[in-house]
Symmetry: D3
Subunit: 341 residues, 6 copies
């Protein structure tokens, strides 16, 4: 039985096509804006004139943008919290290379206007249905029975979170469904690698790829206003997924000390590649090393292409924290990227 | 009920006093030696004249010493394996500052002569009985019920290994009972610290100290001819003890996601202090930081005082790998160390 | 004769109990404040509206708090300098997680009101009398005559500074009397260690502990508005105390090249543990290594417990610079720390 | 016109199938050996008995193996030089985990016996013909005219070396044809990546992949007894290929300062990823980053699978220098690797 | 024929002596200022009151100074761009240790008033004529014909840029003519070194010194409002000068693979000394190592003496980014530096 | 009065010219040797056949060379100690690129034959007389009275050691008189720098250069069979010279806390440049930074040119430990180095 049957509609595709209303990145610099957005973060600060203001980060399915709310009253601060949907009027401007909104006015959206936060988060470019189906295909190819059963049990237990969580708070795939999308992207790369190099144990590589970041569902608080949980800080997603494997193996009466289980656990424990990056052991299996490389490759491509989307041809992106603060050049000619938003 | 009741005799005190026979370090340089020793390691190499020889490391309860067996036949190589007790005749010499045995002849000890390897390993300076009793006292002071039950269950399950295993293959406390002795030394330091700094959660610090290295019983192969297990390589003792905690919590119906359990797991996961040293998270609890410092302090004192024992006053020890290859000076005067052996 | 006889009253206990007046941390967020405080630091900046303001850091014996003084005139800037005691009226607020004062008005305290800066600095939790007495006990146990005489002479020469200086400008024990309190804390730990490990040369460890940071009295400017001296920058406290030992040895006709003097100098020179931390040599004596570890342990406990005091249970402290920018979790339950101020 | 037309037979397939004679790895430990091999390296040393011996590394198409030649005369040293083919009789033995030959006797092969060194080197698992054809297909897909012309001109100029050189002296793909095989493996990975991520400029990625290591043909001395050239040491393959691009662009009247040429040069200059690894600039183009990752991935898979081939199931490989001295575990079960030789 | 004949007047000496008008550093703190300056940089920001302001950096031949322009209109932003000369009225003030201008009013300079940006840049302390003549003397001493011809050709091709560009955007010798002045300073040091150490190949050292930074003329945009070019980012000045050498060698029919050409290229490629600093190879020639050391020595002296000029005796300079953020002490007495401006 | 008057003959020039006897490097590979040499080091080892041998390092004024003495008896080991002069007969050979002596026979030199070790050490290329005279000239130019007096007193106290000690045990200037020669080389460079950069305080730079390594006379055991003293290990030459300055200042009644004395002490304390290299503070004076650079420059040139002397043109030197294990290329043409010995 396929794990992901019946997830239809779990992750609504919040893409432009679905909605007639204009979204954040439908506006150009200088345009007057009038739309509903989600408050992603709201930080209260004191201006140099002694008055308070709120530094907002708004988002909808098209992306996110910052704004400053001057002379904020205590009532403003009280009502405009992260997770709220607001009706916003303002003007899009460009300062220091980054777009922001000059706020004219804003108020909380009413229930009638539709204030469901889930509709305003960025999300993966593929639907949960499609991703679930493709994942089923990969799981079907895991021929080791223990690995197959553990994958099915764990994905079954965390189905909803796995399909809706981001893969990280900020660095890469930081959008709803990002965890599943990142996992799937690695699986696709893994398939190519397994076909090209015949020594690779395909079942092991697929199992490791599917489970490697499942701990993110425990490390992160959820798809809206994502933050680290206390457990995420004190234990970390790498050990959290290992714990889940140990528990599930107990429920399924699988010997945790068998060679295949040691190999599986090694795959998830070693996937950060270096001790400095939080793996308690470095890869010591061919497939563990490959998983680490593909994880890195997909995350990096996601960070770079994401930055290119907001960069004019012939210029450099902003510095990317996850890429050692490098800037990347978007060529003038011969490019195959979509136009910057 | 005390965990360590009934362990009497488990770890026989292999100290000089028990035996009338002379031991390795009863001999001085130049002395003719005649005694029974355990083969700790035996490496076959080819001499530059093309013939094979065996590089031995012999040990008994007084310490260990190296030797070379020239022109080894295949029969010699076959019978003189690590873990065997042999009758040895030779001469103690000093080359390049280190003592070694010039072998006259050697043969396997017969059963009548007593060939029990356990009698020839170095062991902790305190008896298993005494250590077990003192550990019981510390466990008694753990007032959090979950922690107390988990400690009792885990120590109960691994009683024998915990009292007989070394704390490491080579670096520090590398002798039978070293794991328990190292644990107890940290607990004694922890007691002083908890008395001096009133904010310290004594139960947490004790629990962490007792469990922090329990995974060594899974990472290492045992007290004789100690090596790393495959599980030890692929998973490591830090995650192995975390797995044991998760399993035992399941058996005892303790919620693994409660704050106290997160704190306990953090204690063992973080005890190496730095990611580079294999901890998947750095200490983020006062007690976790203290445990790391005390673990390091006790291990370092053990390495330094061990080296001083083989160093003449007014000279430097050999370079200590575990101390960043530093040499330590043993003063001529005012010292309080015992004479070098 | 005891060094610290007659220091009675040198370091007045500035604790809450002594004074009927309310102190900074007697006020809660939202309270109107009216009290006398010391200006710890005062930085003149230009607001974005082009006018000047002063960023103050006020302190009294209960701790320190920041504040902004808007639209500062040249007269304001002239009179409100670090080291001045002022009468302050304002309101305690909380922005971005940190308490600060919204200033209503402030003026210099008159002599009648009591404008002695020494009354407004945070100070060690033990009185100078008590600390002096306990130090005498430790000195009494230094059995090497040269070390004993040097300790007595140096502490005698720097008695006042030693008992009133902080141990650092900002990192740890940054309060009046912090140097003596930090020294004493290390001595108490040293006593436990010397009792547990019989090889330790107790006299040497105590002598090193007492002198290791004495150079701070030359490196730092004093207990009020502490800064580094030029000598502190160009030479550093490690070499400054070594210089003092060399000079005093000369006065006492002690041979600086004797083994005991080399050992003592090595203790203070090596106490930072690593060359990167400013020690010109790494520890090469058992006692030097232990001193380094205990110095670190006490400093770290002080930084962590200090931060816990301003942290709500169930949350993390701010990032601690001296702890590699880590945040520490203050548990909800089972804690033994006092309530946060 | 395809570059690689007419290269037929340039790289003879030296595989087992072609020859009826037994090769090095057709013998098991303990077997008497009698075969022709190539001297890969020959180092003269002095044994501890004062006599000279030669430490050989022999090779044929099946792999390489070491051996010691005792009591070497000046005549032996003179004639048995790297690059010579010799007739060897001896016995295969296993010491310290590595196979070696115990030499009974050896002499230079005569011309009649066939002493062509090229027949005794390990070589890529695919024929030069096949590789050339597949490369042509990739070149065909480079749609930027400048890049296409430069690739054709450079490969045309270095055709023979490109198809016969190894990719490195020792680390990875260190066999005849290794450079072309490594290049092709990256191209195949690049194809999968370009299909999966639509933003990738396929022409640029292919061009960079083909040229990135072409400088190896100038840095290394050739496929037999490979060593670094002086130019390889003083300038390095990264700048050597850049120089070749600059020269060829001049010949083809292509403006070296056009954006496409800057991008191409950046691809090859940045392909080591980090300055520490010898790239004068870090990747600042999406495709440059991907090229670096795929280069690393293919090299690492080659090193790991190569080591697995000489490792028994259930044990670890030797430490791999190019993988940060890690050892890799070859599982007992579920493996898909061929049997170890 | 001398390269630098006929450059007379190319770099006008913009020193105080030439002009009767007061310059930036002729004013003291508190002085009313009235003068023409060049806009070096102009960054538009939003003040906390929501209005825009411009953060200016003004410069003339005496140095540079910052200023804030409050409540900037779109017209202000449009006209006050980097590279424009403006008439400025304001007051010199000192905040946070650094001088800045409080702007009263400013307007673009008219053509009659003289708005040639080149007159307002800081420049080398020696005239282009003098520097060119001294460079000719050094070139005359390069006895290797290939090196001599390449130097003459390259300097001839880039004469104007070489004499007018700065040596860096900000770190050291960041003034017009800085590149030539830095080159000449190294040559003078090189001459002393070559005289003192007779093994040094003087021709090689001079050639390397002259060419090592010539790539800066391609990496940087020019002497006014200097920034990095795209080519500078993607390829870097080290490889850009290597490219220029390769091209010129082709034009002059010099064999690029001769030993002398490998040595010359190695000189420029290795001059950053470490791979981490962007050199693709580390120095492996005596002269390459010396060039690296002298390059560093001259750059560091320039950074330190530049900072001393704005530092009061008895205090420390600001932290110098190029000197690992160290501050340097300017002594009270015995100094030989000019008074601070 | 000049310090170095009357040192005539202290350091006899042991150069070839003085002696009619052949020296080590007068022999070519293959030559039969017959000469007197000094035993620089003698390490007893055990050969793989179980017998002892001595690994010698012989030296005379022309350099040093290694040799192995097989089948050494206890009498051999007893008499052939470091520091003895022996009559040696053997043959010069070349193995693995390094020259060594094949020993035919050797015996202790008699008193009549001349067994003064001082005659067989390598020594500086200039005589003590000449160096002393030039040093006097430099001291004469130190215009600060305190610095001048301290230099005179310290050099006066350590005159003999200063002129005969090496500058290091092995790395650079490791020959008799090396300390003075290295000091003088730095002073000559310092003179050039002070002339080129007018801000440099010449007196300070000279004083620092003269004293910076004076602590080597306490850190090292002497010019023959040089090793580190215990004081050298535990305190280090950097602090040892600081101690000497402090003591001498006391004797001369110079205030150690005056600015000039702080500056002088900073010069010597900071001269290693980095904390990692053992300086307790980093340079924070212009002259301290320059001293560090010149110290490094002269030491590096000495290491490189020393290695070139034993390297054939067109090949690379051995790896130089003090140059990060780099090898340096000795060009075929255009070189100005003397022929290799």
């Amino acid at each position: 039985m396929a794990i992901f049957r019946g997830i239809h509609g779990m992750l609504k595709a919040n893409t432009r096509g679905e909605s007639m209303a204009k979204q954040i990145f439908d506006y150009q610099n200088g345009d007057e804006m009038k739309l509903a957005v989600l408050i992603k973060s709201a930080e209260v600060r004191v201006a140099k004139n002694g008055k308070k203001f709120i530094a907002f980060n708004f988002q909808d399915a098209s992306g996110h943008i910052s704004a400053k709310f001057w002379d904020a009253t205590d009532a403003d601060i009280e009502q405009f919290k992260p997770g709220e949907v607001v009706r916003l009027a303002g003007k899009r401007e460009l300062y220091q290379g980054n777009p922001q909104v000059k706020i004219y006015n804003m108020r909380l959206a009413t229930q009638e206007e539709g204030n469901d936060p889930a509709k305003y988060v960025e999300s993966a470019p593929e639907s949960a249905d499609d991703m679930g189906e493709e994942l089923n295909d990969f799981i079907f190819q895991i021929t080791n029975a223990n690995w197959n059963r553990i994958v099915r049990k764990l994905l079954g237990d965390h189905k909803q979170a796995f399909l809706t969580y981001p893969a990280a708070k900020a660095l890469h795939h930081a959008f709803a469904g990002g965890l599943a999308f990142h996992t799937l992207s690695i699986l696709r790369l893994a398939k190519s690698v397994a076909e090209q190099y015949s020594s690779v144990n395909r079942s092991l590589l697929y199992t490791g790829a599917i489970l490697h970041d499942l701990g993110k569902t425990m490390e992160l608080s959820g798809p809206v206003s994502t933050d680290y949980t206390i457990e995420g800080n004190l234990i970390g997603h790498i050990v959290l997924v290992d714990e889940a494997i140990v528990q599930v193996a107990g429920q399924l009466k699988i010997d945790i000390h068998g060679e295949d289980m040691m190999m599986l656990r090694h795959m998830v424990l070693a996937h950060h590649g270096l001790l400095e990056y939080g793996s308690p052991v470095r890869p010591e299996l061919l497939e563990a090393q490959i998983l680490h490389n593909l994880d890195e490759l997909d995350a990096e491509i996601n960070m770079m292409t994401g930055a290119y989307q907001h960069t004019e041809p012939g210029t450099f992106t902003e510095r990317l924290f996850g890429m050692d603060n490098r800037r990347f050049y978007r060529p003038q000619n011969g490019q195959t990227y979509p136009d910057p938003k």
